[in-house]
Structure formats: structure tokens, C-alpha cells
Symmetry: C4
Subunit: 233 residues, 4 copies
């Protein structure tokens, strides 16, 4: 019974998020949007009932309501009701933002993945080190961004230091959109140095997590797989 | 004898896939397409004979026919015959898709690489963890995509939530095509955060596989190289 | 008292760097630039006082003045005074460069992160190996860049060997701006080989740091976390 | 004496390669090209003398001449002499290619880095596994490329299967030029799957090298640093 409820809930979460995403797509027929609207109401009512049921059944409702999942469960229901109230009002962007809050429903799904696994433990343990590392990336981006702003200037798209720093982050993380790219020889030379250094330092966070995870794994080899994907409803 | 047959088969697979690929290229002379067509028939007949030979020689033909390689072997021959039947019909796209199925012939080649190696074992063992991780990437992309859709809007190319989520996946995987890129300062700020976080979490799957593989390698150091690349015909 | 001073200094550093960055942004009101200018003076005076205080309080002022942090502290104050002197002069670019030197203030922040941690030790220990590796990347880029220059030529944007080498570095580091991209079949074929090889060798520096770090971590497991993020004022 | 000779040779190699690269840049004054030409002759004569000296001093000249460095040393001198012979001839592209062969001089520099180090040993030991892995990347690219060609078609730039496969390699290696990008919803959906899978499998070669290198390092911990960067003249 509880299992069936979980499966229905999982399907509804996925369907609901797909609905929110499809709603934003232009070009469907009028009928499609109508069906999405009806479906949205059915799912919201189901999530509302789930929310009420959880409040009734848990020992301390206040603990649940202000917990991570309590807030997520509320966010899964309230936006549609509120958007119903504000309909016709002028605060269009606010209503739109409100409605899109429903996408956080996807976080309900994390209930079924489990948090007490070694993966997140390894990530938590190396959190401080990764933060220090990302901090260095940010500092490097600010200095390199200022240099690029000075060298390339506004003609090449480096219109201000914040934009140059944004370009440096895009480059150091090896994303490289190409919306902004150096055009002067000096700029390309500095960019090449930034990229080669970035290529070298990408190894650092990987090495850290790898070593931390290996340490974790060697510590308790028997409990590894069993407690990994466990359901806590 | 069996060895010679294998070498011929390997060459034919490679030649055949190159033929399928070249067939799609515009701008060759009429003669070239004719030769590709003749070559295609010779290869298909060879593969047909191979398929029949395998059915005859194996102990349980039904097991082979419905096995992975049985289906691949059938897919290597049947499209050309079927396209011969449907020629002149209107279902052009279907015929085209059918003909391109021949590209799956490349999978015949995996027979000669061997599956029982430590590489795929390490990948299989960490499969569950990588899946959980990729799942988190997907959830992050959906939430970040919705935020980018709200901030950047349709003017910047973020025309719908699915497209925004697609952009987030392109960015988080550090591919960064640049066909869609944030143009507003707020959008670039959020994008920078997404990239830096993505840069930090790229370490996670690498660390997992690395640790799993190291564990595997330490376990049976003697059997490592010998059973790695073995032929199972 | 010392703690409060540190917190104020940290906030001032961050605020100051944000000010330098905002100053370069076009489109704010006149008033905003005026406030940025006043704020700049307040921060500069504070940093000047800090610099003088440090010279007075340290045992050997000459050691401090020519140390890394001594130079950074001086660079945090002097540019504004100098730009005040040169104002009205014609050396516009020089003044601009001078003013932007203030961005190096961000390096003051590294005082609070600590250097004697395992992360930078692991990086230092594998420095020689990473350098050798990056050197090979550079050599590969020069050779591959020359080949691409010969094959693609100037029509595709590969206007000279330095630009081709720049493109190779952009590609090998998987940044891929797309401002220059091969268009001929031969060029795309060579580019595909460069990318696949680059994909394979990205593993090398990661593996090195990972192994070095794991070795370091296993060596002194007890001192790991405590001495990681320590403050040395 | 030998040391001084090595330093001069190292400088000449670097200068010479910079000269070859600068020669291809348009826009310098006539005088600059003249100086580059003179410098080129001086360097070539020096390398010629070095080549002759090596042949005279080594025990078995024939072994040296047909060794890797023997061929590189010859390639460092002969192109200029040959281009002198063919000057005025029509085989322009051939002469151009010939002259650019001089860029292989950069490989002379590898003499001073040393090959018998653990880094290249780790790479050699995991060579077979990385090859198998890259082979799978190629197979995936061929299949995914064919699917993208069928879905996106020629309107989106996926003009033929080879071009689609090229796009897949660009995407799987996370380079992402953006010269070709999917525009249809189905194409973007398949592309997202390709990228997420690519993101997951990038871990595999890294993990392999990392584990191999760690194994190597643990094996002989004492000989690690001394024999790493050694000069073999």
C-alpha cells in the first residue's frame, strides 16, 4: 500500500515537472494548454492532500512544516492557489515567478534517493577544500579578467570588468561559449596562458574528491553497497 | 582459418561503416555512388552468409537469434533487403532511417574487444553511483534552467524551460556551444555560479570511478593484463 | 579586537574590489560614480593606515616591505595617489592600467586562507610533473597548429601559425570558443583526432595530482583537517 | 662546455620555432621578414653543424641517423636547403609544407626532458586501456552521429554522417565549438543525453591513469623524484 502510494507519487512528481516545463513552450494548440491546466489542478490537489496527510500523521507537525521537505511540499501546492488569487493583477512577473516555483517539486524526488550515502559524505568531507579551491578560481578570474579588460577593451566584447571576469569563469571552467572571445594577438596570448593553467588546475578538485572517496571506501568496505540507495519515506 | 575469417570480417565491418557514412556525403561523382552501392551489396551478402553460418553452427539457434549479437548481425543485413522492397514507396524518411540502421554494424566489432575486462567491471560497479550523480545533475539543470528562463527570457534565446534546461546541461557538462548564452548581467551572474559549481562537481564521478578502479586493480593484480583484451568469437 | 579588525579588513577588501569592478561598468548615473569615487578614497586611506601600522609594528620593516604581502599592501594604496598626480596628463592608458592595479587587493584576502595546507603542498609536489605535462601540451599545440594552418588556411580563420596554435590550445583544453573552427573535411578530421587525443590525455594531470594527494593524505592522517584552514595574520 | 652548448641549443630551438611561427604572420614590415630570413639561415647553419658533429662523434652513425632524434635533427636543417632549390618552381603548396616541417625542431627539445620517467611509464602501461576506451568513444560517436544526422538533417548543419560524427566527437570531448548545434527539440533532447553520458564517461580514462599512476608510485617510492627530470644528451 505504502509502496503503491510512493510509485504514484514518483510518477506524479515527474509528470508535474514535465507539465510545468511544457507550459512554457510556445506553439502548442489551445487544447494542449487546457489539458496541461486541468492536469496541473489534479496534481496540485493530490499534493495538497499529501501535504495535509503528512501534517496529520507525523508526531511533531511543526518540525515537519519547517523542515526541508515540509517547505518543498508546501512549495509544491501553494503557487497554483496564489496565482489563482493574483490573476488579473498587474504583478505579471511576480505571478510568473510564483508559478515557476512549482518546478521545485523535483526536489520531492530526492526523498527516494537517500542522503546517508557515501557519495554525499565524500562530498561533504571535501567541501572545505573544494570551497578553498573555488575561491582561488574566483580570485584568479578577477585578476585575469581585469588584465583581459585592459588588453582587449570594449571593441572585442570585454565591455567592463564584471563581463571580463564572467568570460574568465567561462574559460577557466572550460565551458567556452564563444559569445566573447579575444581578437588581439596579446589577448589571445594571455587567454592561452589562462586556459593552459586552468587545464592544469582542473586536476586539483578531482584529485581531492578521488582521494577522499578512496579513503572513505577503504574505511568501511562492507557497508558500501547495501546502505547506498535506501528509501526513507 | 578462423583467424583469417575474423580479420576479413573486421575489415568488412570497418569498410561497410565507412561506406554508409560516405553515402550521406553530397558532391561525389555519380560513379562513386554506384561503386558504394555495389560494395554495399557485396558486404551485405557476406554478412548474410555469416549470419546463416552462425545460425547453423551454434548449438541453440534461438538463443543466438535473440542475443545481443544475433540482433546486431540481423540488423547488419536486413535493412538493405527491406529498402529494396520499399523502393518507390512514399515512406521516404522510414526507408532512410532503415538504411541508416546499417551503421549499427559497428557494434559487431565489439565482439573482438571483449567484455570481461576490468574496465567495464569498474564501470558496472560504480554504475549505481554514477546514475545517482547524473540524476542530481538533471535535477540541478531543471531548477537552474527554470531560473535562467525567468531571468533571461525569450530575447536572449531562452525561449522555454526545456530549452533553458538544455542550455544548463550544455553548460554543466562544460560543452558550451554558445548558440544560447546569457546577455543580461543577472543572467551572466547566475551562469557564472552554475559554471563554478559544475566545475567543482565534475570531480565527483571521476573520483568515484578512480577509487572503484583502484580497488579493483589492487584486488587481483596478477590477472590484470592477460584477460584484458581477449577474443571471444 | 584583532579579530574585529580582521573582519572589517576582509569586508573592505571585498567591497573595494567590487567598487573597482563596478567603476568599469558603463550606464550608471553620475551620482553612482561619485559615490564609488568617495568610497574608493575612504578605503584607500584605511589601507594606507593599515600599511603604515604594519611597517611600524613588524620587527624588520624592510623584510615586510619587500615580502609578497608587503608589495600587495603597497599596491592596494599607491595607484589612487599616483592617478591623482597624473590626472590631466596624456598617458591615459598608463593611468587606467595603474588604477586597475587596485584589483590586486583581492590577493590580500589570501592572508586569511592560509598557505601551509595539504592542498597547496600536493600541488607543489606535483608541480614539476604538471609542468612537464603542460610543456608537452604546448609542443603538441605547436605541431598540430602548424598542420591545421597548412590544411585549413586563411579562409577558415587560421590566418597564421600563432593563431592556429591558439586554436589548438583552445581545443586541447576543451574550452572550444568556436570563434575559429575547421570547415574543410580534412581539417575536421585532424581536429577530431586532436580532440580525441586531448580527451585521453586530460586524464594525466588529474591522475598525477590525485595520486600525489592520496599519498600525502595517507602519510599524516591525523593532522589533515586541523591545519587545513588556519589563519595567519 | 657541454652545458653551455646545451643552453645555446635550447635557446636556438625556441627562437627558431618562434621565427617559423612569426614568418606566417601577415602585416609586419618588409624589414622584419628580412631579419627573420637572415636569422633562419644562421640557425639552420648552426643546426647543420650540430647534425654533422653528432654524426662524427657517435659510435654508430647509422644508428643515430635512423633514430628518432636523428630524423628530427635532419628535419631541422634540410627544409631550408630544399626550399632554396625549389624556389621559383610551381609546387607552391609542397614548398610551403616543406618549410613548415621546420616546426618539428620543437621535438629536439624533448631530448632535455627525459623519457624514462614515471609519467610516461604510467601512460604507456594504461595505453591499451585508454585505446579501448577511445575506441568506444569513436563507436558511440558514429552511432550517435548517425542518429543526429537523421533527426536534425541538413538544415541545422548536420549535412552528412561524417560531419555529424565530427559534431559528436566535438560534443563528447566537451569541446563544443558551436559551429554546428542542434536546433530542433528532438535534436536538443538527444544532444542532452549524449552530453550527460559523455560527462559520466569522462571519468573512466582519468580513473584508469590515476589508479595506474598511484600503483606505479607506491611500487618504487624512493626512485620517484630523482629519475624524473634527467638530462640525456
Amino acid at each position: 500500500m505504502g509502496k503503491l502510494f510512493d510509485v504514484i507519487l514518483l510518477i506524479l512528481i515527474v509528470v508535474s515537472v514535465i507539465f510545468v516545463m511544457l507550459e512554457s513552450v510556445k506553439g502548442f494548440s489551445e487544447n494542449t494548454y487546457k489539458w496541461l491546466y486541468y492536469g496541473e489542478w489534479i496534481i496540485t490537489i493530490f499534493f495538497s492532500l499529501e501535504y495535509i496527510a503528512r501534517i496529520i500523521t507525523v508526531k511533531k507537525p511543526s518540525t515537519y512544516i519547517f523542515s526541508f521537505y515540509g517547505i518543498i511540499d508546501l512549495l509544491s501546492t501553494i503557487p497554483l492557489y496564489l496565482s489563482f488569487i493574483f490573476v488579473g493583477s498587474n504583478a505579471l512577473l511576480a505571478v510568473r515567478a510564483l508559478r515557476l516555483l512549482r518546478v521545485f517539486r523535483i526536489l520531492k524526488i530526492t526523498r527516494y534517493i537517500g542522503e546517508a550515502n557515501k557519495l554525499s559524505k565524500a562530498l561533504k568531507d571535501s567541501r572545505a577544500k573544494i570551497l578553498v579551491f573555488l575561491f582561488f578560481v574566483l580570485i584568479s578570474s578577477i585578476i585575469a579578467g581585469t588584465i583581459m579588460y585592459l588588453i582587449e577593451g570594449e571593441e572585442s566584447g570585454f565591455v567592463s570588468i564584471p563581463v571580463s571576469v564572467y568570460w574568465c569563469i567561462v574559460t577557466l571552467t572550460t565551458v567556452g561559449f564563444g559569445d566573447i572571445a579575444p581578437v588581439t594577438p596579446q589577448g589571445q596570448f594571455i587567454a592561452a596562458i589562462i586556459m593552459i593553467l586552468g587545464y592544469g588546475i582542473i586536476a586539483v578538485p578531482t584529485g581531492i574528491v578521488s582521494a577522499e572517496y578512496a579513503k572513505k571506501m577503504n574505511g568501511k568496505p562492507n557497508q558500501d553497497d547495501p546502505d547506498y540507495v535506501h528509501v526513507n519515506t
